[in-house]
């Protein structure tokens, strides 16, 4: 279904669709993967030039004063065209920095992000991750300013020039911009060509001017950051699943067996319809939660519901897509595998179905249910 957009949002969505179509796609992804590139420099330059990162930042701070809903219109297209750009991560970092009380300390990093002169990506130990070793014993001592331990599965950690470390659990909370040189970074390759980095801080002394927030404010900022990342990944999954379904529909309309297109068989039709319905529901869900998030009216359980469902149904959609492609789907040559692999990465990123449905369950039970 069409989203209900303002005129400005409609224009932005059209621009985003065009830019991502021009700069993304499977051919481009294959090239970048072969070159072991973590970021598509051309696409990223265009995105910086088009000021997408500024979308979520308040007007007084060099941004456009729009919301997560607005940037989601671009992220959906990033997902759809399989772009390799740290838009979600840069926007999340910019949003967090822009909301810090100490704007003097946050200002430099924010300005760098908006200009695109320095890439700062979130490195966060999220309560929403729940399992899987997102962090191991990271400790921050707010008296001495010493950071010790590691954070895993940081996206775009290979290219980042600094990290927005945001810790909200198990240790005094802190949000700080830590230069790359302070961390030992080990970068591993994901199945789709993107990367996951583990940052290790060996008793690193975080300078006072690098600390953006501590205490309750740090906890609040870290939560907002994690929620934004979670929703962003969910909306990318919606775009990706829709693209995978389109590729599949095209294939089953052409591929002939038993003297007719395989898309004429009811079993395949119903599979495709189920994917279509799931994508429709998820798009409505994610954008409704985004709108509530922007108004500050969301229940935290909603964030987890959106990601749990987006992860689950994108995985189901690409699995179904692969099956309907038959043997050709199992080849490196065919593009459908690229969607499958990106879905694997995005499904797990910022919490998968199990961790988010578990969190949803805990949060709703803890909150009490009004029947």
């Amino acid at each position: 279904m069409d989203l209900l957009l303002t005129e400005q949002q409609t224009l932005f969505a059209e621009t985003a669709t065009r830019l991502c179509l021009d700069h993304g796609g499977t051919k481009r992804l294959r090239m970048l993967r072969a070159a072991a590139a973590e970021i598509d420099p051309d696409a990223w330059r265009e995105i910086i030039k088009s000021e997408w990162v500024t979308t979520v930042v308040a007007e007084g701070q060099g941004g456009q004063g729009l919301g997560a809903f607005d940037i989601a219109l671009a992220l959906e297209q990033v997902g759809r065209q399989l772009l390799m750009v740290p838009l979600l991560e840069a926007a999340a970092a910019a949003l967090t920095l822009s909301r810090a009380t100490d704007s003097a300390r946050a200002g430099t990093g924010l300005a760098d992000l908006l200009r695109g002169s320095r890439l700062i990506v979130p490195a966060t130990a999220a309560a929403a991750w729940r399992y899987g070793g997102g962090t191991s014993n990271i400790q921050y001592d707010h008296k001495t300013g010493v950071l010790d331990g590691s954070i895993a599965f940081v996206a775009y950690g290979g290219s980042a020039e600094a990290f927005l470390v945001a810790i909200d659990a198990g240790t005094p909370p802190v949000v700080a911009v830590v230069p790359r040189g302070d961390a030992a970074v080990v970068t591993e390759r994901n199945v789709d060509g993107s990367t996951a980095s583990r940052l290790t801080f060996d008793r690193v002394h975080v300078l006072a001017e690098q600390v953006i927030a501590t205490g309750a404010e740090a906890r609040r900022l870290a939560t907002q950051l994690q929620e934004f990342l979670t929703l962003g990944a969910a909306v990318e999954l919606v775009g990706l699943a829709a693209a995978a379904l389109d590729v599949t529909l095209e294939y089953i309309k052409l591929r002939q067996q038993f003297g007719r297109p395989i898309g004429s068989f009811q079993v395949l039709q119903h599979r495709a319809v189920n994917a279509f319905i799931d994508i429709e529901l998820n798009r409505s869900l994610v954008y409704r939660v985004l709108a509530a998030y922007d108004r500050g009216e969301h229940h935290p359980a909603m964030i987890s519901a959106a990601k749990a469902r987006a992860s689950r149904s994108a995985s189901e959609t690409v699995r179904g897509a692969l099956q309907m492609h038959g043997a050709i789907g199992y080849t490196e040559e065919h593009d459908i595998g690229l969607y499958y692999k990106r879905a694997m990465v995005l499904s797990a990123q910022y919490g998968g179905e199990l961790s988010h449905s578990g969190r949803f369950s805990d949060l709703t039970l803890e909150a009490g249910v009004s029947a």
Binding site: M1, L249, I252, L285, V369, S370
Partner: protein, 393 residues
């Protein structure tokens, strides 16, 4: 800061201030006027027992929110229609049966003659006449176009012969709107079908209730032998019945497919699980979370669709999607309720657990029909495949 309570019945409600005031007004009025003994029944309430409640809603002017004012409706927005439904069902009260108000009423408004409107619309509003829908037959269910009940025009009357089945409230109805074959040689076959309004008191009609799996008699079958139906009871043009029947615009789905149906069942499952101890099972919690999350997605879709429908921008796929998802979700929720109830889930009659009167089996059986009635979900999927995804058979 404590978390706000989780309320799965009001997710993503987007009332504007006027809607909120209307909701409050409806809520207060229902509190004062609803007969308490109609609430939260586990057994079906037949049309005769529902009539006083129907009449009250009529007298308040709220019986047909979606009908234009000139025909005695409210000319209400879709949101107001939904609010009325929500506030009635919020307290576990029954909503009026849809066959007159939501199905044939709008079709008569749309395609009826002035005489048909004058004769049929007022008693639908007051609740005086009960209608049933005569579409299905023994050999024509999902493949409705194969219907065989024939109506032959003889002078100023149709002579109708055939057998209609699975007609909800058929044994309580005064009138039936029926699809009948008026041209046996027409191709394609749906080109020979007409819509007739049949007075069920006419000679030659035998009505027999059919007992359901739930144990009640919700539907019936009708045998029609040389039934004479005046020509003026033809709705729309001769042989145009298929088109007339398909003129419903999908807004009727907003009450039958409301996510609240599943929400209420999930909340019952939760309460029963507390009493039986099912909440200690991780499997139960996992299933519950999965269903709650699906319900949330459906609620988002539903509100989104309603907003688009209000702007006349809802896509064709909306009605079948609501039908499929609403039905299957309600069904899964009712199954969780039965599972949570353990042995109580298999009891035939109402039973008491803790201080609650429950009947999980009845709730579950009630939900079995929602994926079959008015177009099985498989047919809805076929429709989406063909009309939305462009997959041909």
């Amino acid at each position: 800061m404590p978390l706000p309570t989780w309320d799965n019945t009001t997710l993503f409600v987007d009332d504007d201030p006027a809607d909120r005031a209307f909701r409050q007004e409806v809520r207060e009025w229902i509190g004062e006027n609803l007969p308490a003994d109609l609430c939260n029944r586990s057994t079906r309430i037949d049309p005769p027992e529902l009539k006083p409640w129907h009449r009250k809603l009529y007298e308040r002017g709220w019986i047909a929110p979606h009908w234009p004012k000139e025909y005695g409706g409210m000319g209400a927005t879709l949101t107001q229609q939904i609010i009325l439904f929500e506030e009635i069902s919020r307290v576990g009260a029954p909503t009026p049966y849809p066959h007159g108000l939501n199905f044939i009423g709008p079709l008569i408004i749309d395609a009826g003659t002035p005489e048909q409107k004058r004769k049929h619309l007022p008693p639908i509003l007051t609740g005086e006449t009960t209608w049933c829908q005569g579409y299905s037959e023994a050999g024509a269910g999902s493949d409705l176009v194969r219907l065989e009940t024939r109506a032959d025009l003889e002078g100023d009357h149709f002579v109708v012969n055939g057998h209609k089945m699975w007609t909800t409230n058929g044994h309580f109805a005064d009138w039936m709107f029926a699809l009948v074959r008026t041209d046996r040689s027409a191709t394609p076959r749906h080109a020979g079908i007409s819509m007739l309004l049949i007075d069920l008191k006419s000679p030659g009609i035998t009505v027999r209730p059919i007992q359901t799996i739930k144990g009640d008699a919700e539907f019936a079958e009708e045998f029609l032998v040389d039934v004479r139906v005046p020509r003026e009871n033809l709705l729309g043009e001769l042989n145009d019945g298929w088109k007339v029947a398909n003129r419903l615009l999908g807004s009727e789905r907003f009450t039958t497919g409301h996510p609240r149906n599943a929400a209420v069942l999930l909340n019952k499952a939760r309460q029963v699980a507390e009493l039986t101890g099912a909440t200690r099972e991780t499997g139960f919690l996992h299933k519950l979370a999965a269903l709650e999350i699906d319900l949330m997605a459906f609620s988002a879709y539903y509100r989104h669709a309603a907003a688009l429908h209000g702007e006349k921008r809802a896509p064709f796929s909306m009605a079948p999607v609501i039908k499929i998802v609403g039905g299957e979700l309600g069904q899964r929720a009712s199954e969780l309720l039965v599972d949570a109830a353990a042995g109580y889930g298999a009891l035939a009659d109402d039973t008491v657990v803790g201080n609650q009167i429950i009947n999980p089996a009845a709730e579950m059986f009630e939900m079995r029909r929602v994926t079959v009635g008015s177009g099985a979900v498989e047919i809805q999927r076929n429709i989406i495949a063909k009309r939305v995804l462009g997959l041909t058979s």
